[in-house]
Symmetry: C2
Subunit: 150 residues, 2 copies
């Protein structure tokens, strides 16, 4: 499964005339393995370096994120106060409930919001990006350690 995901991502890069370098391959493997996790650039950096077996420069990670975003492979959004988070764009569409207390994100199935988003588009002429949605608030127990917000 992970290998298939990686190959597919590699194809997406090739289709855009981009080179498959070692750092890029490592990033793609990490993303494919992360499934629906929301990685920060820092986490992605650390994991990719581990996969590659050698250090990768942070700036390279950010440039790869930019390239992948333009290629349509990933999304990158700032949900709360902390760093931006990244995930593959072709996962099951979902939204994020972001707890401001602990920074934890809870996934919300698309259909919970689908009707709303549609009506906003017709009523307000605003096309909501269905995977970039974040609803900020507080989860019931906000004592958990956070990845995104201290």
């Amino acid at each position: 499964v992970t290998d298939l995901d990686t190959s597919r991502l590699v194809e997406q890069l090739r289709a855009n005339g981009l080179r498959i370098t070692q750092p890029r391959r490592a990033v793609l493997e990490v993303l494919a393995a992360a499934h629906d996790d929301h990685l920060t650039a820092e986490t992605l950096h650390a994991r990719a370096a581990e996969v590659a077996g050698k250090p990768i420069d942070p700036s390279t990670i950010y440039r790869i994120i930019e390239v992948l975003e333009r290629a349509g492979s990933i999304y990158h959004v700032h949900l709360g106060h902390g760093p931006g988070v990244i995930h593959l764009s072709d996962h099951a569409p979902h939204h994020h409930l972001l707890c401001e207390q602990c920074g934890r994100t809870v996934d919300l199935p698309l259909d919970d919001l689908d009707g709303l988003i549609r009506s906003i588009e017709t009523d307000h002429g605003f096309r909501a990006d269905s995977v970039h949605f974040a609803l900020v608030g507080t989860c019931l127990d906000h004592n958990q350690p956070s990845r995104n917000v201290p």
Copy 2:
């Protein structure tokens, strides 16, 4: 109206045992005058300094924001990729449609979302902050390829 707002904010500070200093008063006046604008810290800083008639240090602004947030007077969220935005917490509840192309926010009436927010709370144990809502997407005037989402 603005004066009343300012006094009320001053009372909120006093109630929390906080001192009414010149920079704080200036910030409160700016906030009261801003109505439902979504100020960045930088804008707040500039306006407060103007109101005070003398320079205020940026760090002071950030500390005031922190204090006001703890006192419950204001909210402070990061809607998109840019800096955080601030507004009073007791304005007419509304939500934000944030255009990623132009950064413009469109207000969305509360009742469009009220049912949804309620059902999220019961279904997911997540209390959405009804004034902190941001739906990221693209407004009609800017239906072009995005920097973030091609």
